[in-house]
């Protein structure tokens, strides 16, 4: 009890140096937080502004001439966006669940003291982060040997095992699951696999939440793998779709500008705001998930990382 009262008393007569540090800390942290958030505010407000207002005044932190025209155009043909959206959801969900299963099971084995070869095996995993073949052999093996061109498996399988996440989980399990608990379960007749499912998994939940979020983010944000392997429109996930649409946007605008030569109805696309609206659509699920998972970060990540 006394320890809780002590700092409060100290705060009352704060020394000059601590006051100065506090002023620096609060202002620096507040400024940096605003610096981190401002671009997202500009993105959201831009997507909700009228194109004409942006062209006159430029982008602002607050929407000017509020308009949902960009979203209307974006979802005019909803199946295009929803198709890409569902590819992303399926890839992310299946990849994350499978990845957590594979990694936590391996992490459990590598964290058990009874596994005499654990360090050698861990190094076999770790080695791939030190030395790898690079893009070219990977691409050739994937396309020519595994037939992964336009194969949806290409979006899921290669990302299943992240060595960093695996080692983080192992450290978490080493630091947070007492050996005595596992041994007593084994004396009661449980096999290693049962111990993993019944005892280790529930205790690893904070780490699994954090690592699961990182894995999900990696899958959701991946635009590079589809760029390498996916040409078929119906297999393109959201991020790559966004990338492709952004790239063709300028070309489209040029075509639209020249379209008076042909007897085409004038398109009048709100190009700039559509881009931002697309970015919002691609970012929204992350922000949504983030608000739930965030509380596990410090608990789940650092316990595994610090005591390495």
């Amino acid at each position: 009890m006394t320890t809780q009262i002590a700092p409060r008393r100290k705060r009352k007569k704060m020394h000059k140096d601590r006051l100065l540090l506090n002023i620096i800390a609060y202002s620096f942290v507040a400024l940096f937080a605003m610096f981190c958030l401002a671009p997202f505010l500009i993105m959201i407000s831009g997507s909700l502004s009228a194109q004409s207002a942006i062209i006159v005044h430029g982008y602002t932190l607050w929407p000017r001439d509020f308009s949902t025209r960009a979203y209307d155009v974006l979802f005019a043909a909803p199946d295009v966006m929803l198709g890409a959206f569902s590819v992303s959801v399926i890839v992310t969900a299946s990849g994350t669940v499978l990845s957590l299963l594979l990694c936590s099971m391996a992490a459990y084995a590598l964290g058990r003291k009874n596994f005499g070869h654990r360090n050698k095996v861990a190094f076999v995993f770790y080695f791939t982060t030190l030395f790898n073949g690079g893009l070219v052999p990977y691409y050739i093996v994937m396309v020519n040997h595994y037939q992964m061109k336009n194969n949806p498996l290409a979006l899921v399988l290669p990302g299943l095992v992240s060595v960093w996440n695996l080692l983080l989980l192992r450290n978490f399990m080493k630091n947070n699951i007492p050996d005595s608990l596992i041994e007593s379960a084994k004396i009661d007749g449980a096999g290693e696999f049962t111990v993993y499912v019944r005892i280790a998994m529930p205790l690893m939940v904070p780490a699994l939440m954090a690592i699961g979020f990182f894995t999900a983010i990696t899958y959701w944000n991946d635009w590079f793998t589809p760029m390498l392997f996916i040409d078929q429109e119906q297999l393109v996930p959201l991020q790559y779709k966004l990338y492709k649409m952004l790239n063709t946007m300028n070309a489209l605008a040029q075509i639209a500008a020249r379209s008076k030569d042909f007897n085409m109805p004038k398109l009048d696309l709100p190009g700039e705001t559509i881009k931002l609206a697309m970015a919002v659509v691609a970012a929204a699920p992350i922000m949504f998930l983030y608000s739930f998972i965030q509380k596990y970060f410090v608990k789940g990540v650092t316990i595994g990382a610090v005591k390495g």
């Binding site: 800390a25 507040a30 070869h117 095996v121 030190l130 690079g134 966004l242 970012a283 990540v301 990382a305």
Partner: protein, 320 residues
């Protein structure tokens, strides 16, 4: 365990071999648990790793990696003669060194200052805000970035105009990227990078600070003489891990922000973007695999040497 060993009689060597066999057998359940993860790693990391020999081959599609004829060092000769390698290495190293140093300084600074903040809700909101950019894809960021630096509409140039300065088109200027890219990088990674230092600070024994206070130290002396030394192991390990990829550039960032804008290659082309372009655009397997091989080997040898040096000086900090 001990019961199983004691069942084996006879020569000590035979006994130890038998016990090793018995032990290996008892490990089989662990091996079974590691196997699925290893299978993925084997298929997507180790097999391509052997494919690295393609850099020494005259690759053709029909014969594949293994069947194509050897070409010795020809691919590397072409790469060196193209004169590209110097610029690529230069840019890749330069950016990575800036990123590692600036990233470390900002993350440590942020962690120390956040740990000084006493208000819980302020801390929580600030951390949520500073972590957020880390989870956004470079596709989204490049969209926003493009709109920020847009010469006519962008926020930055609106500000410049308000200050009476002439607007800048960053996509035509090379030098400015040595500043812009590190700022972007700090913006995206410093917040989340600080989490590990923050946790380390939380783990410091409060008694250290109490006794320093009794000795008459002010808070800045506390930070300099207690917090920073206590963060040293974390700083060293994070830096070592980063050094392992010293010649591996942030492809996502460079490709999304710069793209195939040839005007800017002088100050922004890195090995990874070069390898990608040469592979996908000109389909030049020889050149791109040679550059990739050089990159992998350089990183590998570099981290081995650094790790060896660290082991000599401070064995506790070595990675392996």
């Amino acid at each position: 365990m001990s019961k199983r060993v004691s069942l084996v009689h006879g020569h000590p060597a035979a006994r130890s071999r038998a016990s090793r066999l018995a032990r290996t057998h008892s490990y089989s359940v662990f091996y079974a648990m590691v196997l699925p993860a290893f299978a993925v790693l084997f298929a997507f990391s180790y097999i391509p790793l052997f494919g690295i020999i393609v850099a020494f081959k005259d690759y053709n599609y029909r014969d594949g990696i293994w069947g194509s004829p050897w070409s010795g060092m020809k691919n590397f000769q072409f790469l060196f003669r193209s004169g590209k390698l110097g610029l690529l290495i230069n840019n890749t190293l330069l950016y990575n060194i800036i990123f590692i140093i600036m990233g470390m300084v900002f993350a440590v600074l942020l962690a120390i200052l956040v740990s000084e903040v006493r208000s819980k809700w302020f801390k929580k909101i600030a951390q949520s805000a500073t972590f957020l950019p880390n989870f956004m894809s470079w596709v989204i960021i490049s969209t926003i970035f493009y709109n920020m630096v847009h010469p006519r509409l962008g926020v930055i140039n609106t500000l410049m105009k308000a200050l009476g300065e002439a607007p800048v088109d960053v996509y035509t200027k090379t030098g400015i990227w040595y500043w812009l890219l590190p700022v972007l990088r700090i913006w995206k990674t410093a917040g989340f990078g600080s989490i590990i230092y923050f946790a380390a600070i939380m783990g410091i024994d409060q008694e250290c600070y109490e006794s320093a206070k009794l000795d008459g130290a002010n808070v800045f002396q506390e930070i300099w003489h207690i917090t920073l030394p206590m963060l040293k192991p974390t700083i060293v390990i994070v830096t070592l891990l980063n050094l392992g990829g010293i010649l591996r550039g942030d492809f996502d960032m460079f490709y999304q922000i710069i793209g195939n804008n040839g005007l800017l290659f002088k100050s922004t082309d890195i090995i990874d973007t070069y390898v990608f372009r040469t592979l996908m655009r000109t389909n030049d397997i020889g050149m791109s695999s040679a550059a990739g091989f050089f990159q992998s080997l350089f990183c590998f040898v570099f981290i081995l040497i650094v790790n060896l040096l660290v082991k000599r000086i401070e064995p506790d900090y070595a990675l392996f």
